[in-house]
């Protein structure tokens, strides 16, 4: 009896409800005759698509800044990196010159730009967060919003030559949604793209097994990132950072500069945000500019909380489980709901209720995240 109670307490009520709901949806959709393979392909794809953005929450939480709603900063850096990389690729005509290598170079360049910008912005952001200790979440939410609003002005002012990016017949401003099909879109995850653009020896990146799509390339990249973060938190620096997040006085009395560790944690979180949005865009096949990333921070926060993290402690397993459950529900809900009543927007409503409900729940559990 006691063990059952222990297990229940370990899982927690919200995770239990969401987990049962997910299983219920899966069963119903299979009963309704949807192809399980196609369904799972979709779940896996969305899982990997959002995974890195959720992973970006871990260093933030561990280093003590709490739920990093300001991951929009990293997202913006990643998007900027991507558009710059695409513009350079266009100007240098890489597609002609490099052939199959062009999307790779563009992707690497986008990552490089994104990471550098995110590291700089993240450091500055960390400096700010050190000055607002105790209210990091409130401040970071609005800093995140402000950054997106500011980036709107930037997107509108950039004058790029690449037709995929800019509006036709206008000297200025980028599109709301820029297609990556001629660039790195689907490079790691879409079997069609891989088949048509990549040489035979790279065909393992993404392929189909019957109805089931296995985006092996993306899986490997995501696994590598998860492993790196896991390893990082077993390193001397990572352990010091966890300590700073858990107990500032303890860590200070062990001779560690807590503020520095928090800045580093924030910077790493921001960098992961940048990588996350680039991987998201490559899976999705489009770059979404302007207000599209406004609420992405919320989705990431909600995912890791669903996974079982608290505002003070998070693990890689929380990332994996949370993203799977959250995205899984959203993916499976749509066809199921459509079968019952025709309301196309219901999954969106569901997303809003679940994500904000779980954040609210987590905040009320910890008295608003303050110690």
């Amino acid at each position: 009896m006691k063990t059952i109670k222990d297990i229940y307490e370990n899982i927690g009520l919200p995770r239990l409800i969401i987990g049962v709901f997910f299983i219920f949806l899966v069963v119903v959709s299979i009963v309704l005759g949807f192809s399980p393979a196609a369904l799972f392909s979709d779940v896996v794809r969305r899982w990997l698509m959002y995974g890195t953005l959720v992973l970006a929450m871990v260093p933030g939480i561990q280093s003590g800044i709490g739920l990093n709603f300001g991951v929009s900063l990293g997202i913006s850096a990643g998007l900027l990196g991507s558009v710059f990389a695409m513009e350079i690729s266009f100007l240098r005509n890489w597609n002609e010159v490099l052939g199959a290598g062009a999307p790779w170079l563009t992707l690497l360049l986008a990552l490089l730009f994104g990471i550098i910008m995110a590291a700089i912005l993240g450091t500055l952001y960390g400096l700010l967060l050190n000055r607002v200790k105790g209210s990091e979440m409130t401040v970071s939410t609005y800093v995140g919003f402000s950054v997106i609003a500011f980036m709107n002005i930037v997107w509108l002012s950039l004058a790029f030559k690449n037709g995929e990016l800019s509006w036709p017949l206008q000297g200025q401003g980028l599109r709301n949604t820029a297609s990556l099909s001629g660039s790195f879109g689907g490079l790691l995850s879409n079997p069609d793209v891989v088949q048509s653009t990549q040489p035979a020896w790279l065909q393992w990146l993404a392929f189909k097994i019957g109805d089931f799509t296995l985006p092996l390339g993306l899986i490997l990249v995501f696994a590598l990132l998860c492993f790196s973060v896991w390893l990082f938190f077993r390193s001397k620096l990572g352990i010091a950072m966890s300590g700073a997040g858990e107990n500032q006085l303890f860590t200070t009395s062990s001779g560690i500069d807590v503020d520095r560790k928090r800045i580093q944690g924030t910077a790493i979180s921001t960098v992961l945000g940048a990588i996350g949005i680039i991987l998201y865009a490559q899976t999705y096949g489009f770059l979404q500019l302007y207000n599209a990333p406004l609420m992405m921070g919320f989705a990431s926060v909600a995912s890791i909380l669903i996974g079982g993290a608290s505002v003070r402690r998070a693990k890689i397993s929380h990332v994996l489980i949370g993203t799977l459950l959250f995205q899984g529900i959203l993916v499976t809900a749509l066809p199921v709901v459509n079968e019952v009543i025709e309301i196309g927007t219901l999954p969106e409503v569901l997303r809003i209720i679940i994500s904000n409900g779980i954040i609210l729940y987590a905040l009320s559990k910890t008295k608003g995240g303050n110690q």
């Binding site: 700010l128 000055r131 607002v132 200790k133 105790g134 209210s135 979440m137 409130t138 401040v139 939410t141 609005y142 800093v143 919003f145 402000s146 997106i148 609003a149 500011f150 709107n152 002005i153 509108l156 002012s157 200025q172 401003g173 919320f298 009543i341 025709e342 309301i343 927007t345 219901l346 409503v349 809003i352 209720i353 904000n356 409900g357 954040i359 609210l360 905040l363 009320s364 008295k367 608003g368 995240g369 303050n370």
Partner: protein, 502 residues
């Protein structure tokens, strides 16, 4: 000399205290000049937006005073109003009666919501703002569930005007023309005067009855007040006045004149009182006389043709402005009650309030209820003025814009006044009106101006939250029990009074 430096010091601290407002005023001015829009257009637009938005902004003040910070939860008040509007439109009601019914439906809903929000905030003390923000999104989700799925899906609603054709759920926009549009704006002045008279009459009668029951002591003020109202009611029967009052809009010029006359009369009464009744030295008269002169000067300015043109162009709906004035008065009055004092105490220090026997949690819940109810009324005013009800969008930005406006006026997380709210609304919405045109002139792109104003509204909140958190954090790091007084040893250990040692 010293007076001069004192003046500079004062001016300096004035500039510093109002830095947000001043910076914003400068941006507005620059944008107005850049846009090159005619003043009639700008002033008209600003007053329209004052009509729509001020009430909601004023609804934020009480939670700030009670220490709950900026109430991002007013979204929930707006939702209560929108549910009420939907019901009234569905029942096919309209006009002022329909509006009254909306109020009757919205108010208990808002009380309930406010109570629940207050309870939740009591569980999350110190994190009310982030909680309110998330709660707003969460409530929006439930609202969408209600309007998209439950109405039409679970509860059968057969109304092609309201329900998406061939599906379930409420349409994206509901046209309020012919039912609730201008339901408040179009109330005639003469009706207002009549209603006010009868209400005052009724209240006075109740007071008299209470007096006779020895439960209340009637005083001079009661009679004077009733006399003035009765007099006004009487005047309204004079044909000229009646004709003037029988419209629902007031030309801004007339409104300004009327306000100046009332203010001047008040100042005169003050002067008369201090000379003949209080017999104060003549020196104290300087201020009221200067004020009177300023009023005169303002009135004189209205004769400049450019200004006169603007002032005669703009027409104000009367009742909304009276309601706004009423809310300002309410915000002021509540502070002079025991409830208001409790709220201030709780806002300053919960632990001290608790030790003084004040029910902290209850006071906070009351503050949230008041704010939510006021926000729902504010949303009703907003919707009837704008005339179309965007089902899924009308409430989403309300907290965002109202809070930004309040902060632009110079308020902070811990301090907010009516004046700041009104100045904030004027500045913030001026920018809203001129920014697209200014962007067009400056960057050849109206969109940039639009994005700029959104950026400003987020940015000003981010800045003010960060500044608040910063000062809070500094306070924690350096406790006020500062060095100097503790450096002196309290009692040197060696001094022992001789007589105590036997």
């Amino acid at each position: 000399m010293s007076q001069k430096t004192d003046f500079f010091k004062k001016a300096g601290s004035f500039l510093f205290d109002n830095k947000v407002m001043i910076a914003f005023a400068a941006i507005c001015l620059a944008a107005i000049v850049l846009s090159g829009s005619p003043m009639t257009f700008i002033v008209d637009g600003v007053f329209t937006r004052i009509t729509r938005n001020t009430f909601t902004v004023l609804a934020l003040i009480i939670p700030v005073l009670a220490g709950l910070g900026l109430n991002f939860g007013i979204v929930i008040g707006a939702i209560a109003a929108q549910i009420a509007v939907f019901c009234v439109v569905y029942w096919g009601l309209g006009g002022f009666g329909g509006m009254l019914l909306s109020v009757l439906i919205a108010t208990p809903l808002a009380v309930l919501f406010g109570y629940l929000v207050g309870k939740l905030f009591n569980r999350m003390k110190g994190a009310e703002m982030i909680a309110g923000l998330i709660l707003g999104y969460f409530a929006d989700g439930l609202y969408q569930l209600l309007f998209l799925v439950i109405i039409g899906g679970v509860i059968p609603v057969n109304n092609p005007k309201l329900i998406i054709s061939g599906g379930v759920g409420v349409k994206n926009t509901i046209d309020l023309t012919g039912n609730l549009k201008y339901a408040i704006d179009s109330v005639r002045m003469v009706d207002i005067v009549t209603v006010v008279f009868y209400v005052v009459l009724a209240v006075t009668l109740i007071k008299v009855i209470l007096h006779l029951l020895k439960k209340y002591q009637l005083n001079k003020g009661d009679f004077i007040f009733f006399g003035i109202v009765g007099l006004l009611f009487g005047i309204s029967y004079i044909p000229v006045v009646e004709k003037f009052l029988s419209t629902d809009r007031l030309i801004l010029l007339d409104a300004l004149t009327a306000v100046l006359i009332v203010l001047a009369i008040l100042q005169l009464i003050k002067i008369v009182r201090s000379i003949w009744i209080d017999k104060e030295p003549l020196k104290t008269l300087v201020k009221p006389i200067v004020t009177l002169l300023v009023y005169g000067l303002i009135y004189a300015l209205t004769f400049i043709p450019e200004i006169e043109e603007v002032l005669s162009y703009v027409k104000l709906p009367v009742l909304p402005f009276l309601l706004i004035a009423g809310l300002c008065w309410f915000n002021q009055k509540i502070l002079s009650t025991r409830l208001g004092q409790n709220m201030r105490t709780v806002g300053q220090s919960q632990s001290v309030a608790m030790a003084s026997g004040i029910d902290v949690d209850k006071t906070r819940v009351i503050a949230m209820i008041i704010s939510t109810v006021l926000a729902s009324w504010g949303q009703l005013i907003f919707l009837q003025n704008i005339g179309t009800f965007s089902t899924y969008g009308a409430h989403t930005q309300i907290a965002q814009f109202a809070i930004a406006a309040l902060l632009v006026g110079g308020a902070s997380v811990q301090k907010a006044t009516n004046k700041q709210a009104i100045i904030g609304v004027i500045l913030f919405h001026t920018l809203f009106i001129v920014a697209p045109e200014a962007g067009k002139q400056l960057f050849d792109n109206a969109q940039i101006g639009e994005y700029f104003r959104v950026f400003v509204s987020y940015g000003v909140i981010a800045l003010s939250l960060a500044m608040h958190a910063w000062t809070q954090f500094k306070k924690e790091v350096q406790p006020p029990t500062g060095g100097a007084d503790l450096e002196i040893p309290a009692l040197p250990a060696v001094t022992v009074k001789q007589q105590t040692l036997k």
